[in-house]
Amino acid sequence: MGAIMSKEIGIVAYGAYVPQLRLRRSAITQANSWVNPSSKAQGKGERSFASWDEDAVTMAVEASRDALGDFPRSAISGVIFASTTAPFADRLNSGIVAGALGAGDDVTAFDVSGSMRAGTSALIAGLGLAASNEGAVVVAAAERRRSKPGSSQELGNGDAGAALVLGHENIIARVLARFSVTRDFVDHFRATGDAYDYGWEERWVREEGYLKLVPEAARGVLEKAQLNARDIATLVLPSPLAKIEQAVAKKLGIPDTAIADGLSAKLGYTGSAHGLVMLAGVLETAKPGDRILVVNFANGCDALILEATPEILDFKPRRGLSGWLAAGKPVDDYMRFLSYNGEVGMEWGARAEFGNKYALTMEYRFSRDMLAFIGGRDKATRVVQFPKTPLAVAPDAAADRVAAYEDVPLANLQAKVVACTADWLTYHPSPPFYFGLVQFDNGARVQMEFVDVASGSIEIGAAVEMLFRIKEIDNVRHYRHYFWKATPATGVAAQKLEAAQ
């Protein structure tokens, strides 16, 4: 037993993010009963779905922020982003994540994709990167997968993100061993440029895939760690297939009580992120000494065994998977779900024809402050403002020289609403468009969009916090520009929702 690497590397933080919106599966089965009446039985529970302004990158950012809390961003040396639904095929998605987190320019960043194993593949790559680095490595996985209306994927999938921070100090879970099997077993595939998966018969996937390849990898990793199945406290087996965990556990000799919840009731299967999403949930309640077996099946299988350390009791994510799951807003808005995912084209009127080409030159000049939401404190007047401008905004600021600023990150601060409205006239993919003016205690004030707003929760003086979102998508060139939006501060929205119901 012991660390598999010469230098002690492990998980030092974990976090998750789940979009607020949850679609009741009964809304899907009811809407599609005309074509598939037998799916009624599957209309139980809820699945999460991303809003129009969320994608794998924004969810990875939020999950990473959930894990990092106040962790110093300058200590991040690597950012690895895993997804099969990254918004850009060619533009470093992990670079956007790193920028939004406020990591320095000296980070190593790369994207991992290619299969539902991408999340654990990124974790494995991250362990290697962390071993050769002094700082911490953020491994963030997120998925926003499309599914054909009426398909079983539509019912079974969910949208979410998870993040692990790997490092050398205050390790809360160490990696005892890892083992991978790679086999071109094609249970499903999605060709480059296609929107949807194509899957093969489920019985074959269970019997030839999960029940053979997963045990092979699990036995391999147990042997490497010199452990037996009975030493495993928790089995994490992400899968879109119902009850496959029980069958695999039985085959391995792991008791049913050790099987981690697949999160289908409130979330759904979140693709390549699901292994890390489940792990982020398991770590919330893990006890020191717990050994966690993670097996991630896809064209083979990744297997890792983690062991919680006593430090796990001292760590809490900002909100954690359980917090995000509890903050859901269940809806029956099937058409909203379809529209957000581009499955139906709504009539948006002539205002939606607004040209929105972003000047990449302009974006780059301000990319650091815009991505990480950094304001500036004018060194002369000490007044904080956003954005930084050549001449500072304070009434007594100098006019005869360009201002010099100290960075003031705003992303992790709360602010208060000064003015707001719900605008039904302007084009917005999710009307009404909530926007207004917010005031930070440090003096910065910013005109902002409000998101994830329960009716009546945005009022003058209300506390808000910041979320990283898509500001706008260029419908012609398909570029997307990100910025921060304000949302009712943690707890506020949930309380309002309860009051409303």
Binding site: G349, A350, R351, F354, G355, N356, Y358, A359, M362, E363, F366, M370, V383, Q385, F386, P387, T389, V393, A394, P395, V418, A419, C420, T421, A422, D423, W424, L425, T426, Y427, P432, F433, F435, G436, L437, Q439, G443, A444, R445, V446, Q447, M448, E449, E459, I460, G461, K471, E472, H481, F483, W484
Partner: protein, 400 residues
Amino acid sequence: MSTGIRDKVAIIGMGCSQFGERWDVGSDELMVEAFVEALGDAGVTRNEIDAAWFGVSCDPINVGNSSVPLAVALRLPNIPVTRVENMCATGTEALRGAAYAVASGACDIALALGVEKLKDTGYGGLPVRTKGLFNDLWMPYGSAPGTFAQLAGAYSAAHGVPMPDLKRAMAHVSWKSHENGVKSPKAHLRKAVSMETILNAPLIAEPLGLFDCCGVSDGAACAIVTTPEIARSMGKANPVTIKSLQLSVSNGQESSYKDWDGSYVVNTRKASGRAYEEAGIKNPREELSLIEVHDCFSVTELVTMEDLGISSPGGAPRDIMDGFYDADGKIPCQIDGGLKCFGHPIGASGLRMAYEMYLQLQGRAGERQRSDVRFGLTHNLGGTPINNVACVGIFGRLGD
């Protein structure tokens, strides 16, 4: 020490096209319609005009850029023409340019013309625009009603006025303008509307309903200005003169510095303060005879009553409900129907406000005519409550 332009500029002719959904005509016809009326009114010929200022705001659906469209439409004899654009305050900005040219002695007779053809967009409301490539990066772009709607919540919070009371005062603002519009032959909307209809209209941007928003119209208005001396030499013994034209522009403190509470418009206060000083007005509530303000939305008019120093802080809703600003009140506001009912062709609106003052000061306002009109104020606001340009004009007779 500047002496200002008080009584240095006389208005000798004005014209205003029919406002409304002018499906039958384009910008050129609108410009000519206003210009022909002004020329006849002034009793001058086209060749006597030394210079022109041309105001038009919404480029993509209009005449194209530069001053050439005005020069071509009016076939001006190769005189200097300046194109100005200052959002919804464009019309007053054009007048300001012409007035300053005359006041400086640079020219004897100058023309100001504003026009907007908004009904070529294919939809209701104003065309949407970017606010610049830098602002694209971070600024939320709401609709015009969305930006002004925010005044309401902030005003309610600042003055402790319950929203239902505020909504009622806002509804009275629109109700009154509809009553006035009926008596305004060139107005776009000439139909009285009940308070109940106004209060129950569909929401556009909370808390503004449909009737809290002004009309989007086609139209043009113009003015011909000269010196009082020349005006008198033309036989106009006591001409209408400009007592003041003041402009105030946001520098970003409302949006980026902590002081402003969102419940008023900084530049209206600054511009009106300077205008009163230039015009020698000590007590606007007592001295002004009538006012035309930028009632793009009912709540804008409401806060403007306080920003102009006519209603006390927090006192506008009461003054409004008391009928202080009604056609038969102490200081009628929007006696011609205002933006709300006369209509709001962006580039023309400031000049349309001046047109009503010009008529009223000469006793030529027909059914709408008030007695004893001495000083009239126009307030033309461009932009949003948070970033704007405010133009305040004061008009009277030379002898006053």
